[in-house]
């Protein structure tokens, strides 16, 4: 049996801890504005009131009681385009269980162009016209798509950067809906 020197083990452990600490600090410092996306995890999602394509405004907190998928996207973003048909299906599938997808368009395109794009994609959920301040409150949204998953209390339970597989979304939606949501919907 090889005898392990406890001093070396302690040294390695301490070094790993220091590297972790330094890495986290560096990553946080690298993010220029607003809270880091990671800091939103478990916190109540920053509220906003944005204009939708239909001219009405939507306040995020008005969706309390529903599980929410908050998707930041842009018309110039190819990977965002891949996710949209999935979102259309997921809205249909999980909507009756108290699930709502909200898209926030984060580009400089005109409202007409965003509306045209959304129509081409057959979007069946509200698309809001994003503002920089809202993006900053969500950590800057420097990657598109960026998707947050909120539980029925408006708490951020997960977030994904960049294109993900459909199954990742399904897993997070189920988690956001909470246990027994399908049974509740059937009653």
């Amino acid at each position: 049996m090889v005898k392990r020197n406890p001093l070396i083990l302690f040294f390695v452990g301490a070094l790993v801890a220091v590297m972790l600490f330094a890495g986290i600090r560096t990553a946080r410092n690298n993010r220029a504005n607003g809270p880091a996306n990671g800091q939103l995890m478990g916190a109540t999602a920053p509220d906003f009131d944005l204009e939708a394509l239909d001219g009405k405004s939507l306040k995020l907190s008005s969706l309390r009681g529903k599980a929410v998928l908050l998707n930041f996207w842009a018309t110039y973003c190819g990977p965002c385009k891949v996710e949209m048909p999935w979102f259309v299906e997921l809205q249909k599938e999980y909507g009756p269980q108290g699930f709502q997808i909200v898209g926030v368009a984060m580009d400089d395109a005109s409202t007409e162009d965003i509306a045209k794009f959304a129509k081409e994609m057959g979007v069946n959920y509200p698309i809001l016209l994003g503002k920089e301040a809202v993006g900053l409150s969500y950590g800057g949204v420097n990657v598109l798509p960026t998707t947050f998953f909120l539980d029925r209390n408006g708490k951020v339970i997960a977030r994904e950067f960049g294109l993900q597989s459909r199954s990742v979304f399904v897993d997070h939606i189920k988690e956001a809906l909470g246990p027994g949501s399908s049974e509740r919907a059937q009653k």
């Binding site: 590297m19 990553a27 190819g78 990977p79």
Partner: protein, 178 residues
């Protein structure tokens, strides 16, 4: 030896995990050192500017295949002494990406060269002049896109004195009398 390798692996994993970085860590597009172009007063000369797109990323060409895409465009600031002429962009490459395998996007990757035509006025004092501008681009990788950026650029133009125009001698008539 195995122990040391394991330690190194652990440290690297810890660092990578802690970083939790997404997206590019620096500018996706950079300008290679622009050559100092010598131009004669009043003459037009193209200035070649070579840009580099970081590995793993692509940016739209100046003529992307969709109206929704943001074209790469160079905006050069007008100066009082140098006339900025046409900007010539290279053709992009038609490429498919993992997020849209059936779609061809017209993009720039790696190095690409943009020519800017400059013409100093005849009246400009010879010397070195700085021309400034910005390159607007919007980058993506295989999984995500990044908001449009403006890369500030500058290049030097050395203006040389034009040779004096030859003075045409008036025809002399043997019978001319002053």
């Amino acid at each position: 030896m195995k122990k040391y390798l394991m330690c190194a692996f652990l440290l690297l994993s810890a660092w990578a995990f802690a970083q939790e970085e997404f997206g590019p860590k620096g500018p996706v597009v950079t300008l290679s050192d622009a050559p100092v172009i010598t131009v004669t007063q009043g003459k037009a000369v193209p200035v070649p500017l070579t840009f580099n797109v970081a590995g793993g990323y692509h940016i739209n060409s100046n003529h992307p295949n969709s109206d929704y895409l943001i074209p790469t465009a160079l905006k050069v600031e007008a100066t009082t002494d140098i006339v900025i002429g046409k900007t010539t962009y290279p053709d992009g490459k038609n490429m498919s990406f993992a997020f849209a395998p059936d779609e061809k996007l017209n993009v720039y990757t790696g190095d690409f060269k943009v020519d800017v035509l400059v013409r100093p006025l005849r009246s400009v004092q010879p010397g070195k002049y700085v021309v400034r501008g910005t390159l607007k681009y919007q980058a993506c990788d295989n999984k995500a896109c990044y908001p449009p950026k403006n890369l500030p650029i500058s290049f030097d133009v050395k203006i040389a004195k034009a040779k004096p125009a030859p003075v045409a001698n008036p025809a002399q008539s043997p019978h001319a009398h002053n």
